[in-house]
């Protein structure tokens, strides 16, 4: 029986069901509706009319509280432009303006079609019909009034702002948050990226004075200069672009669209090309520096992060943040991408076994090797202690000329070096400095000693021992230096006498004298002098000293407030059981309950006593600390979705939306409510605020009753054993319905991260159609559905 079901599930893509009619209707606007439906009591008139609040709902988005509410929803656009806000405050947000007829005005708030769906077909039929003929009624979209709850559900963001009068502090909008920096070839100017100020700050190195502050795109991340210093390039994560600035006049030259979520960038030695990693789409954009257009896009590892030129200038290497797709519960494996300059093609993809979070990278002058930061997680081992590198270890990778990769830890047995953000190498190649964002610390590495440690070890030691050894850092780490809050980007002065450190949450640049490795100055960037509650929360989020042995910070698993792509085994729910996929923190405040089990009704609870007992193992947060942390978590931004065009859904996405909202199967049978996507994912966030059993209970969700199952063998138990738990053991579990906003950015999927792509949710893991009635979908319909989901 199970084999039959599995066969059915795997074959449904070619099932010959009647295709859902394409429903590409558009929105007409209430005025058109009112041509016929003029008054209550007349046939087909809305029984709820008039509803002034519906009509006024768009205008509410222009009022002052809306901006504060938007901050608590992770929205980066103005509320009147946010698809999330407009989803409940107007009728046409989800479709977008390309689906609005000229008679439709979004500013009229929630109109007839907000509840009844786009009416163009209805109107067309009415107008084409013979007098007296009544077009089919549209009805309420979901056929019942629970549809209203999708918007009329209490939302913490609205409650906090409207009921408790919470507001962003003025200073919250004034922090600079320096994250990366570059120095001019003559060493006189320092260019600092202000992530929160959306600006590039130009400092005079000698005096420390702020020379200029240049507006750039949204959430800039990295900066690079052309070899002659005539051009300055800044990547803008949320604008999906690179801003180009004249290096002499500091005037903006242009802005080049690139891929999703660009982070690191580097300029080729000739200055002809600018390479920028598109972290959100696993790519590297090549920008022609003369035409300022993207000339090529190359495939990179998962979530590429930064770039560095090899010392010989013939190639460059990109790091990547997240691991490649891997079989369930196996060690993560990440990838570097080496690009041959000139040809601008990928020439090698060295694997980095057991490592993730490869971030900063730098070449060693005089040696054809590159150093890059990395994290070696222990996500397959239960989190039962925070000692001896039991949960996370942190270190450096070495990429040799022949593509060989070595790994060494910067930790010590009793004290981790958490969240290594960046590495810089002195111009003479003697020293490397690594920043620990979690410990507010720098490590000074003797490069020759580090390389000697590797070269003097056997292959076996290099493969198995050194990557896990907590004591060997003493051989090559010369000193450790405490700096201001959350050091990230590093750059040496051209003469090597100074090192500049971007102290992100200190709003300053620290100046370290070399080779003394002492702090000599701090360059103030002009941000607020006060530390707001939000800022304090951000510091706590990045602070690994809240955990025993500095083993991890919140940021360790949630870089950029997002995910590390791993599933961890947490002690509280049983050793070896219930591995839980790491979930994004972007825009989550309004989506309680939290945890996959849905047991935490608030973020305060999520980060409360149990978090201390099972994660940090030190003192729980004080009430003030907890409030600050939750406030920061509540405001982590959700990046603009690159899969969604400015004018709304594409035709394919529209078709996918129709599949998502369908109430009937391809054969015309009505779908039970519990089998429809919108039943659980119908709200503005596309979540339900409740736990559901959708037939996804798998291996490790309960203690094994089967000896040594082959997890990749689906023939007996279904994928990951879901047939076993559905049919035999009756141990099906319920999980929180995740929000689907920006779901494209959060693989792997489901509660345990066993599902690598959105498609797999239905092609492999919906054996019993518990996760929606989907076996009748054609391949095209499924592709449409996925296209729509990615646009959310």
């Amino acid at each position: 029986m199970r084999n039959v079901l599995a066969l059915l599930a795997s074959c449904f893509l070619v099932a010959a069901g009647r295709a859902q009619d394409e429903v590409l209707t558009s929105l007409c606007g209430s005025r058109v509706c009112l041509e016929c439906h003029v008054a209550k009591g007349r046939a087909q008139a809305c029984t709820l009319e008039p509803i002034p609040e519906h009509a006024a709902s768009w205008r509410a988005l222009r009022k002052e509280p809306a901006a504060h509410i938007a901050a608590l929803t992770g929205t980066t656009e103005p509320p009147t432009e946010s698809s999330l806000c407009l989803g409940c405050h107007t009728s046409g947000a989800d479709l977008g303006s390309r689906w609005w007829q000229t008679s439709f005005d979004n500013r009229e708030g929630v109109q007839c079609e907000g509840c009844h769906g786009p009416g163009s077909d209805h109107v067309r039929a009415r107008r084409a019909g013979t007098p007296g003929e009544v077009p089919p009624p549209l009805g309420i979209r979901k056929g019942e009034r629970s549809f209203c709850d999708d918007c009329h559900r209490p939302r913490p963001s609205h409650d906090l702002v409207l009921a408790k009068s919470w507001r962003l502090a003025p200073e919250d909008r004034e922090y600079k948050t320096p994250v990366n920096l570059a120095v001019a070839p003559d060493g006189r100017r320092l260019f600092v990226v202000g992530e929160h100020s959306n600006s590039l700050l130009v400092l005079d190195v000698a005096s420390g004075a702020l020379v200029r502050e240049i507006p750039v795109g949204q959430r800039p991340h990295d900066v690079a200069l052309s070899p002659d210093g005539s051009r300055v390039y800044v990547s803008n994560r949320f604008s999906h672009s690179v801003t180009v600035i004249d290096g002499a006049s500091f005037e903006r030259v242009g802005e080049v669209p690139v891929g999703d979520d660009p982070h690191g960038l580097v300029v080729s030695p000739s200055g002809a090309d600018v390479f920028v990693v598109d972290t959100g789409e696993d790519a590297i954009s090549v920008v022609d520096a003369r035409s300022l257009t993207e000339s090529r896009r190359l495939v990179a590892g998962r979530a590429p992060w930064s770039l560095a030129l090899r010392a010989d200038g013939r190639s460059l290497v990109a790091t990547s943040l997240r691991p490649l797709s891997a079989p369930f519960r196996t060690e993560p494996r990440s990838e570097l991408t080496e690009i041959a300059l000139g040809a601008n093609v990928a020439r090698a993809r060295p694997a980095v076994e057991g490592a993730t979070m490869m971030m900063g990278i730098a070449a060693v002058p005089g040696r054809d090797v590159l150093l890059f930061t990395l994290t070696r997680p222990k996500n397959l081992v239960p989190i039962t202690r925070l000692a001896q590198g039991w949960v996370e270890t942190f270190g450096l990778g070495v990429l040799w000329p022949d593509g060989r990769v070595d790994q060494l830890l910067l930790d010590e047995p009793g004290r981790a070096f958490p969240d290594p953000e960046d590495v810089a190498v002195s111009p003479d190649g003697r020293f490397a400095v690594v920043s620990s964002g979690g410990a507010d610390e720098l490590a000074l590495v003797d490069v020759e000693r580090l390389l000697h440690t590797l070269e003097s070890s056997s292959d076996e030691q290099r493969a198995r021992v050194l990557p896990n050894h907590l004591g060997r850092s003493a051989e090559f780490v010369l000193r450790r230096l405490h700096v201001g809050a959350n050091p990230r980007g590093l750059v040496f002065a051209p003469n090597g006498r100074e090192l500049y450190v971007a102290e992100a949450l200190e709003d300053a640049v620290a100046v370290v004298s070399m080779p003394e490795f002492t702090l000599t100055r701090r360059l103030d960037l002009g941000g607020p002098r006060v530390t707001t509650e939000l800022r304090e929360g951000e510091r706590l989020f990045h602070d690994a000293t809240v955990t025993q042995g500095r083993q991890l910070s919140c940021r360790t698993c949630h870089p950029d407030g997002h995910i590390d792509g791993l599933a961890f085994d947490i002690e509280a729910d049983g050793l070896g059981l219930h591995p839980v996929d790491n979930r994004s923190l972007r825009g989550i405040f309004d989506t309680p309950p939290f945890k996959w089990e849905g047991t935490n009704p608030s973020l305060e609870r999520q980060c409360g006593p149990r978090f201390a007992v099972f994660f940090t193992r030190l003192d729980p947060f004080t009430p003030d600390e907890l409030a600050a942390l939750v406030r920061y978590l509540s405001t982590i931004e959700r990046p603009p979705n690159p899969h969604r065009a400015a004018d709304g859904l594409t035709p394919r996405q529209r078709r996918g939306k129709a599949v998502f909202e369908r109430a009937r199967a391809n054969d015309g049978d009505e779908l039970p409510l519990e089998k429809r996507c919108t039943t659980c994912h119908g709200s503005a966030y596309h979540e339900s605020g409740a736990v559901q059993d959708v037939g996804t209970t798998m291996w490790f969700d309960a203690a094994m009753e089967v000896e040594d199952p082959d997890l990749e063998d689906e023939s007996d138990f279904g994928p990951m054993g879901i047939a076993l738990y559905q049919d035999v053991l009756d141990l099906a579990r319920r999980f929180d319905t995740p929000m689907l906003r920006n779901v494209y950015a959060s693989p792997p999927y489901l509660h345990n991260g066993a599902v690598r792509t959105l498609e797999e949710i239905w092609t492999r893991f919906n054996l019993y159609q518990g996760h929606g009635m989907t076996h009748d979908l054609t391949r095209g319909q499924l592709n449409d559905l996925v296209a729509y989901l990615k646009a959310l």
Binding site: W390, H482, G549, D569, L575
Partner: protein, 479 residues
């Protein structure tokens, strides 16, 4: 979080941060005052000798006085009165109170007492008929059944049979909990910067040839969990003083070999105690009884010089660079110095949030790969294991359990019981066995990397096969 930031700063090599006033690592004003335990000079044989500083109860007449090193001629101020014997003060983090152990009258048990530095009658903390020794302030403890972290005190309790173990209690003496269960006892507690307790165990009385912990230093959380070796055991025949922690993150002690004249000052990094250790010969030492680290990091030793065997044991400054005694710090001709501790505030240590659940009867012990040996070496594969337990009657086998093909095992084990593991081959012959004892607390899930794991090696990142199943129960003895 200020406390944690201070700690972080302290860990971050404080000397390097001097130019950053807002990041000053330790906001503590060093003082020159000490609380000193003195005993009458005419009490012969009362001084314990190196390595036995607190193994015996203080002699009658022991008293606690305040000495100011900046005013060496000033008469010591006696701090507690009305005790037949009072000793071993430990000053609270805020510098306002101190704990000590005291005996009111002959025949009374030694109890833990607390007094204010600025005077007033001391209050009794502990009760009972057995002696409480070596009291100290701990970090806070938080559990899920509590509303907030609770302050805890620690002390060593010695039974009538002479067995010692570490206990904790609330500041009022209630909620007494035993936290160590090593057959070799437990004493000499020292609270480290990371909030964990360093303590010493001795040779297991009447134990089999193995294991043989000799003056072993162990680490344990203040809830009794995650006990582990701090550093390598002292070689046979070597006496170690009670360790001290320095502000720059080192742990120091004195070692005396039976075949050597000069003792040695030994130091290890707290965060890497199995790493290289520094050794310095202490010249013309004489009779040493206690090593004390002052707030500024300088060293003081309670010493009776070799050339004056009848003189009082006094405080001497020890130069940590040369190993020479550079100054006698105060004259106490009628009194021997038994011990001393700096008086004044110190950085608070981070608290502990604990999984320990007293309602549970069992804990868990799992091993990722029993084949992993020191420095990553691969040991022979075990087919099964024997779990050995220690009780008053000695060592006995608690049971046998399977070992998975990947070398992992997962056991449900009795709590608060000294345990160790012996790996067996397919024929039941012993392959390897643990050289030290561990225990688990109620609900604790204790993980090990391997049977002879390298303490400087992080675990491999793989899911132990044993964890795919329910734990093998060791709760019932093997029949």
């Amino acid at each position: 979080m200020t406390t944690l930031r201070l700690l972080s700063s302290l860990l971050g090599l404080c000397g390097l941060c001097a130019s950053w006033p807002e990041e000053a690592p330790v906001a503590v004003e060093p003082t020159t005052a000490l609380l000193v335990t003195q005993i009458p000079h005419d009490v012969r044989g009362a001084l314990p000798g190196l390595g036995r500083e607190r193994a015996r109860t203080p002699p009658p007449g022991a008293r606690i006085v305040r000495l100011d090193l900046a005013r060496p001629t000033e008469e010591p101020k006696v701090y507690v009165a009305g005790f037949r014997s009072a000793a071993w003060p430990d000053v609270s983090a805020d510098g306002r109170r101190f704990l000590f152990v005291g005996q009111r009258s002959e025949g009374d048990a030694f109890q833990v007492w607390e007094a204010r530095v600025d005077g007033g009658a001391p209050r009794q903390v502990t009760q009972g008929t057995s002696d409480c020794l070596e009291a100290l302030y701990l970090s806070t403890l938080f559990t899920l059944d509590a509303q907030a972290p609770r302050e805890r005190l620690g002390f060593c309790r010695r039974s009538a049979a002479g067995e010692t173990a570490l206990f904790t209690c609330a500041p009022d003496g209630s909620d007494e909990q035993r936290i160590t269960y090593h057959p070799g006892g437990g004493g000499g507690p020292l609270l480290l910067e990371d909030g964990r307790l360093l303590f010493r165990v001795d040779q297991v009385p009447g134990a089999a040839p193995r294991p043989t912990p000799l003056a072993e230093l162990l680490l344990v959380n203040v809830d009794g969990t995650d006990v582990q070796a701090f550093t390598a055991p002292a070689p046979e025949g070597v006496q170690r003083s009670r360790p001290c922690a320095t502000p720059d993150g080192r742990v120091l002690w004195l070692e005396q070999r039976a075949d050597a004249d000069d003792p040695r000052l030994v130091g290890v990094a707290r965060v890497r105690a199995f790493g290289p250790r520094s050794e310095l010969a202490v010249h013309a030492a004489g009779e040493l009884h206690a090593l004390i680290v002052l707030a500024d990091g300088s060293l003081v030793v309670a010493r009776r010089p070799t050339d004056a065997p009848a003189a009082a044991c006094e405080l001497w400054r020890l130069d940590a660079a040369s190993g020479n005694f550079t100054a006698r710090l105060c004259a106490t001709s009628d009194w021997d110095v038994l011990d001393a501790t700096p008086l004044g505030p110190r950085p608070a240590r981070p608290g502990r949030s604990s999984v320990v659940d007293e309602t549970r009867k069992s804990g868990f012990l799992y091993c990722i790969d029993s084949r992993i040996g020191r420095d990553g070496d691969t040991l022979r594969s075990a087919a099964s294991l024997e779990l050995l337990a220690w009780s008053a009657s000695g060592e006995h086998v608690l049971g046998r359990a399977p070992v998975e093909h990947d070398g992992s095992f997962y056991l449900e084990v009795p709590v608060r019981t000294p345990l160790r593991v012996r790996a067996l081959d397919t024929e039941g012959h012993a392959l390897e066995e643990m050289q030290s004892w561990i225990w688990v607390m109620p609900r604790e899930a204790r993980g090990c990397i391997g049977c002879h794991e390298d303490p400087e090696l992080a675990p491999p990142n793989r899911q132990p096969r044993a964890l795919r199943k329910r734990p093998f129960s060791m709760m019932e003895p093997t029949k």
